[in-house]
């Protein structure tokens, strides 16, 4: 590949995607920083706010990208995303939590290194993808949807179930020739109480693996000495984890755009458009659907791990289907079928619809000195008797986190009516690993003059 070719590609890319992504992210971050200024945040507050935004941009971006492989490319209607996320993080927890002794009330794990847990989580999520897909892929799109949503609920109920709350691991396990004594004695899914994620801090594990942990600690004490006095580590941890997530998004994007821009991705697209045709052209569509579904499920497992691994604990209610629908809204905003669009959709969803309402409420409360909100809807409506809408306004503002779902619904309906293809769904992202223009110049630009045989000017 010549330098000019590479440069041309780079410039073409810059014109479209990089600029667009940077513009959207820039606008989001600017809005959040300005809101922070309005709230009178100090440096610590600002950094926390940015870390928080980055976290949600990262996780929603990743999940939307994974869903785009299922829905945008292959047309597989998966509404069980959260099930795969849950499997990912639960398996990681089970594998990597430190073991506890006999008879302890607490649930332990196998105490293996965190990276083993992450790999196990991804692999098991993928295997469950296979399990769901095998019988379901012969079904039509809407039946696949029912199977997947049922699957994700089964996963959640299994997490809550008392039956799976604890297991006692036998002292020795015999596998044909190998016999070993696992460190763990009591493991399990923890039931309704969930699991405490008392494994190594994931950030620490990652930095240690990269031999960056000590430099990082040095940097933390430097910041403590010079910029943020007391205990800046949680803030910096948050920011760094955001960076890790953005790198994760980059890897997801790279993997999925390579998948899309290939003969493999072309068959997926053909399956989305008309499976019979793909079949009649000699493509074993079941194999392609299975591969795509397993890859997507594994990525969703990884997304779930990255989403929850930094928390102190996980509980089954975190894995309700509403997360699945958030990710769907993100994908629809961005435009199914476009990888760049998926990430943008995730970022916009996270910044505007997911975190935005809370910031809006705080902003209004900071701007206007408002009294206490009424405690219930009756009191809110009572104001109208004396033609005073204020109690109602205050009540509405106070309930903004609950109203978030209403806002999302309204946005979704508006999108379906006015821009069903989302931000970038209309774009031609040609599914091939090479430029399909006529070889040897000429270009493939639509030239009506070529209609009657003459193919060159």
């Amino acid at each position: 590949m010549s330098t000019s070719d590479l440069r041309g590609r780079f410039e073409g890319l810059f014109e479209r995607d990089v600029t667009l992504v940077l513009a959207v992210l820039g606008a989001l971050y600017l809005a959040y920083i300005l809101a922070g200024v309005a709230f009178g945040y100090g440096l610590r507050g600002q950094l926390n706010s940015i870390a928080n935004l980055t976290f949600y941009v990262g996780v929603f971006g990743m999940m939307a990208l994974a869903l785009n492989l299922h829905w945008g490319y292959t047309g597989l209607f998966n509404i069980g995303i959260v099930g795969f996320m849950g499997i990912g993080i639960y398996v990681t927890a089970l594998v990597s939590k430190p073991p506890v002794g006999d008879g302890a009330a607490q649930v332990g794990g196998f105490g293996l290194p965190l990276f083993v847990g992450v790999i196990a989580g991804v692999v098991i999520a993928g295997l469950f993808g296979l399990l769901v897909a095998l019988p379901a892929l012969r079904l039509r799109a809407d039946y696949l949807a029912i199977v997947t949503v049922a699957f994700s609920e089964i996963v959640r109920f299994t997490m809550m179930s008392r039956t799976f709350q604890t297991f006692t691991v036998p002292d020795t396990i015999d596998l044909w020739v190998v016999s070993f004594d696992p460190a763990a004695d009591t493991v399990g899914l923890g039931g309704g109480g969930g699991l405490i994620l008392n494994y190594t801090n994931p950030l620490e594990a990652l930095l240690r693996a990269l031999f960056l942990w000590d430099p990082y600690l040095g940097f933390v004490s430097f910041v403590e000495a010079s910029v943020i006095p007391n205990n800046p580590k949680p803030v910096l941890d948050g920011l760094l984890y955001g960076v890790v997530l953005i790198v994760g998004v980059g890897l997801f994007y790279l993997l999925l755009s390579r998948t899309g821009k290939s003969p493999f991705g072309r068959v997926l697209k053909a399956i989305r458009e008309d499976e019979d045709v793909a079949n009649a052209l000699g493509k074993d569509t079941d194999r392609f659907k299975l591969t795509a579904f397993v890859l997507g499920a594994a990525l969703m497992g990884l997304g779930g791990i990255l989403w929850y691994s930094g928390r102190g604990s996980i509980t089954p209610p975190s894995f309700r289907p509403n997360i699945t629908f958030f990710i769907w809204i993100a994908l629809i905003i961005g435009g199914a079928g476009s990888n760049t669009g998926s990430f943008l959709g995730g970022a916009i969803f996270a910044g505007v619809l997911y975190e935005g309402p809370r910031y809006f409420k705080n902003l209004v409360e900071t701007a206007f000195e408002l009294g206490d909100a009424p405690r219930n809807f009756g009191e809110a409506m009572a104001g109208f008797a004396s033609l005073d809408p204020m109690p109602f306004v205050l009540y509405t503002l106070d309930s903004v986190s609950q109203l978030r779902l209403v806002i999302m619904g309204v946005v979704l309906i508006w999108l379906m009516h006015n821009r069903p293809e989302g931000l970038l769904g209309h774009r031609k992202e040609t599914a091939s690993s090479v430029d399909l223009a006529r070889p040897g110049g000429g270009g493939s630009t639509g030239n009506p003059a070529a209609a009657d045989g003459g193919d060159e000017r």
Partner: protein, 307 residues
């Protein structure tokens, strides 16, 4: 690059460019010879034989849907390098026969043999990969894919259809190389069907006739021995119909074998060397157009007489 040199040769019909123009780029001429090379047996050498090799043989084919017998004891074969027409009034079982041959439906009884192999009950993709390609009655292009993507989809044995090969850095190179080779061929076929100016268009934006052309071009790229065309002329205007027929005749001369379902009797009579007439799920008559024209049964079936 050399294509920009204005020479009269480059203005001739695109697919034949290789034969007439010596200054056409080598890549184009390679691809053009490919188009003929892929037919292993040259029909000229066999022209003398009376009993030609029949790649497709159908025997005792029967299909029941509930209590209805859609196809009843249908047997025929299609000889290499011929244009065989399958005609009959609506509901005669022509499309069902097609679906039985191509694996979209499983027959209740009977066998389908292709190049000597029993392919009854095979999956559609397995049959397509053995060299039996089909088009659909209502053109089923892949709407939200460009014409080029539609075409690039078709070739068999694409290494990049394996996920890991497409992702891994080293193997991706070989995927790109194969796609580049494939691309020459794709443009050659686009030129042949004169839809090269639509290459970047979404297939969904094409007119009905252009879709038929695209579908046939796409089927051709699977390197078939036998092409099954399901009503290729339905909804096509007369001038395009003529063009389609020219393409079919030219391809037949290159050695491709065609089985065409149609209910326009004149069209089949004038173009096919052999005609199979179906009526109410059975074969009514099988012979040359002249024989069919003289058959009382066929006339009755078409005029709605009782059989």
């Amino acid at each position: 690059m050399s294509e920009t040199d204005d020479s009269p040769a480059s203005e001739s019909a695109p697919a034949e460019g290789a034969a007439t123009g010596e200054d056409t780029p080598p890549s184009a001429s390679d691809a053009s010879t490919d188009l003929t090379e892929l037919v292993e047996d040259d029909p000229e050498t066999r022209a003398g034989d009376d009993a030609r090799y029949a790649p497709l043989e159908v025997e005792g084919l029967r299909k029941e849907f509930g209590g209805i017998t859609a196809v009843d004891d249908v047997s025929f074969d299609v000889e290499e390098g011929t244009l065989t027409g399958l005609i009959g009034p609506n509901g005669a079982g022509k499309s069902t026969t097609f679906n039985l041959i191509t694996g979209m439906l499983d027959p209740t009884e009977g066998t389908v043999r292709f190049n000597g192999e029993d392919i009854t009950g095979f999956q559609p993709h397995e049959i397509a990969n053995r060299g039996l390609a089909r088009t659909f009655q209502i053109a089923r292009e892949l709407e939200e894919m460009t014409v080029l993507e539609n075409m690039m989809l078709a070739p068999k044995g694409q290494v990049g259809e394996s996920l890991w090969r497409s992702i891994m850095p080293v193997t991706r190179r070989s995927v790109q190389e194969q796609e580049t080779e494939q691309l020459d061929r794709v443009w050659e076929v686009l030129d042949f069907f004169e839809i090269d100016h639509l290459a970047d268009e979404y297939a969904g934006n094409l007119s009905g006739g252009q879709r038929k052309l695209l579908e046939m071009a796409r089927a051709l790229l699977t390197d078939p021995d036998v092409l099954l065309l399901d009503e290729p002329f339905a909804g096509v205007n007369p001038s395009l119909e003529k063009r389609l027929l020219e393409h079919i005749h030219e391809l037949r001369e290159r050695g491709y074998t065609f089985l065409i379902v149609e209910h326009d009797m004149d069209l089949i009579m004038n173009n096919c060397e052999r005609v199979i007439v179906m009526h109410q799920g059975r074969i009514l008559k099988d012979g040359t157009p002249e024989e069919i024209k003289e058959s009382e049964e066929v006339i009755e079936a078409y005029l709605g007489g009782e059989v």
